[in-house]
């Protein structure tokens, strides 16, 4: 099926029962770190704010506005670091959850920034007895670096608005992404006024230095892990497309090879951010999972025709250069605690499930794969799964034709009667994943034994 012969997989030696537990402590530590940063900046505000400030409504409102600005500013750095591919964050939390946190926090940050602006204007207006709008003009014209702060805030709001569900749905991924990138400029623009006008910084060179280091540190992390190291990897491995193989159901398998690619340590179930360096694919990187296990310096991605870019993958030519970021994700065989595992794949989720099934089998697990598709013609990679010596059970038909959801609790238990004693891995569209998680829990599978990956970061 392809021109590349994967190196012969060697059976795993790990004891399935003793696989590492999911890294809960790491994700707790990251949350604690975030909380600590907010506490630290609050203490800084507390000690630097004279009590007399609170004796007038205007003073109190202004002080609260400053606190809001300080917290928002710390969270802006957190926002950038959460998507900054910091290896320790990736390992302990996982990219998908980091992005989910980023989305939650993003909304909060934009609203906090707006609150800061409102409180600064309101507080000033109360103190000077100006009208709100004339106080706003006064602030912008008399305080340093305010024009750029306003411009930066406009970019923040734009980024927030385009990320909101309503607007996001009507934008292409690329348009949204380009707007989102302008947030870097926005952050740069709002930095100046913080140390030039901020009452807690103007008279305090030490505080100013700490603040500058906070932002410089964030920028350095970004440069290291999002620019320098990925480029160094590309230079070292020079990954290229080596084969493009059509699969059933309109899917396409793309093999990417490069010297020493295996050193990246990708395991079954993980994904890369893949950018094919050819016209039409340059703007954004797409997340694709590896669809074959233990293939050494070769990686296989199996891509469903879900949109414009994924469809265009079928026309890629061997030799095309590829930028890879990764591997990411903790949807791996190491998560399985029991000998029996049930893997459920839907749509493009069959790629990672195919790789996981192979890996789990090699590790000595008893593997059942349920492959959900609209019709028999859509069972891409089904042939490979059936040939593995794996208990393969395709489930085809639209829900409307069947009159029920074959993945609801009753039907799933009928299909896999010993479901309760298995670890469940599910990968596919978010709706399907949610259904399976509910069914498995209803059937008595403990939460720690249900592992899932939605094929969507947004």
């Amino acid at each position: 099926m392809s021109t590349i012969t994967p190196p012969r997989p060697s059976p795993g030696t790990e004891q399935p029962g003793r696989a590492a537990a999911p890294d809960r402590p790491g994700s707790l530590a990251l949350r604690a770190l975030l909380a600590l940063a907010v506490v630290a900046v609050t203490v800084f505000w507390w000690t630097g704010t004279p009590s007399g400030t609170g004796t007038t409504p205007g003073g109190a409102v202004t002080a609260l506005g400053e606190l809001t600005g300080l917290v928002a500013s710390v969270l802006v750095c957190a926002q950038v670091l959460l998507t900054g591919r910091v290896p320790w964050f990736e390992r302990s939390v996982g990219l998908d959850r980091l992005v989910s946190w980023h989305r939650t926090l993003g909304t909060s940050v934009v609203l906090l920034v707006l609150t800061h602006v409102l409180l600064m204007v309101l507080g000033g207006a109360l103190l000077s007895r100006n009208a709100l709008w004339s106080q706003a003009v006064t602030i912008v014209t008399t305080q340093p670096e305010m024009l750029s702060a306003v411009a930066g805030t406009v970019l923040f709001v734009l980024v927030g608005a385009t990320s909101a569900r309503l607007l996001r749905a009507s934008l292409s991924y690329e348009a949204w992404f380009v707007v989102h990138l302008s947030v870097y400029l926005g952050i740069y623009l709002t930095f100046g006024h913080q140390i030039a006008a901020g009452a807690h910084f103007v008279g305090d060179p030490a505080a100013r230095l700490v603040w500058i280091l906070l932002y410089a540190g964030t920028a350095a992390a970004l440069l290291t892990w999002r620019v320098v190291l990925p480029l160094a990897d590309v230079a070292r491995h020079a990954p290229r497309v080596t084969a493009v193989v059509p699969e059933a159901g309109g899917m396409t398998s793309v093999w990417v090879s490069g010297s020493g690619l295996g050193d990246l340590g990708a395991t079954a179930g993980q994904f890369f951010l893949v950018r094919f360096l050819v016209r039409g694919h340059l703007v954004s990187a797409h997340p694709y999972s590896v669809s074959a296990a233990r293939t050494g310096d070769h990686l296989r991605f199996t891509i469903g025709a879900l949109g414009d870019h994924s469809r265009a993958v079928a026309r890629l030519r061997p030799g095309t250069r590829v930028l890879l970021e990764g591997p990411f994700g903790r949807f791996t065989a190491a998560r399985a605690r029991r000998r029996g595992v049930l893997l459920i794949a839907g749509g493009a989720g069959v790629g990672p499930v195919r790789a996981l099934a192979e890996e789990l089998r090699l590790r000595g697990h008893d593997v059942v794969v349920v492959h959900r598709a609209r019709s028999a013609a859509d069972l891409g990679l089904g042939g490979e799964l059936a040939a593995e010596g794996i208990d393969y059970r395709p489930v085809v038909g639209r829900r409307s034709e069947l009159g029920h959801d074959p993945l609801d609790a009753g039907h799933l238990v009928a299909l896999v009667p010993d479901l309760e004693r298995r670890d469940v891995f599910v990968c596919g569209p978010p709706g399907m994943v949610a259904t399976v998680v509910r069914s498995a829990r209803a059937a008595g599978v403990p939460r720690s034994a249900v592992h899932h990956e939605e094929l969507s970061l947004s």
């Binding site: 609050t42 609170g54 606190l67 939650t104 909060s108 009452a199 949610a434």
Partner: protein, 167 residues
């Protein structure tokens, strides 16, 4: 991820409530002081930046001529010192006393300025500059001293009220 549609908004509301609670804790949750208008009078030790006077509300009618020298200066009969209004800034009250010889402003003294670890420092640095500016401008139309925006604003306000009171 679709399960948490309003999570960001909830986190924001929670954060806002937390921040407001912190502010209340910081300022003791006390009602704003309804300090009686203070008369800037004989108790004006020039340069005392530790003044505990604090006022609020509408412009206090304390722009009176200094009672120690009612209407007159010590030597020159046309020299008079007028206390300005207390101007509130986020960091505390600012109040000045302006000395006129005839219609000329010859000196500005700081009656009170914000106190605090940094505020005192900022006041110490900025008030001499502001006084100098008033004397050279002969009015309250002066530039903001960088890094002392609010003190400058309060200073302007207090100087202006003294000029207005002098008439």
């Amino acid at each position: 991820m679709t399960a948490h549609r309003w999570r960001g908004t909830f986190v924001y509301l929670g954060a806002l409530a937390g921040l407001a609670a912190i502010a209340v804790a910081r300022f003791g949750g006390l009602p704003f002081e309804q300090a009686a208008p203070t008369v800037a009078g004989s108790t004006l030790p020039a340069g005392d930046t530790g003044g505990s006077t604090s006022g609020s509300g509408p412009a206090t009618p304390d722009a009176t001529t200094s009672p120690s020298n009612p209407g007159t200066g010590t030597t020159d009969p046309s020299t008079v010192t007028v206390g300005g209004d207390v101007a509130q800034t986020p960091y505390g009250p600012v109040q000045v006393a302006v000395t006129f010889t005839g219609t000329r402003i010859v000196d500005v003294q700081t009656v009170q300025a914000p106190v605090g670890p940094e505020s005192s420092q900022i006041a110490a640095r900025s008030t001499p500059v502001l006084a100098q500016e008033v004397v050279s401008a002969q009015s309250a139309h002066i530039d903001t001293v960088s890094g002392a925006t609010y003190t400058s604003e309060g200073y302007r306000e207090s100087v202006q009220s003294a000029i207005d009171a002098r008439g």
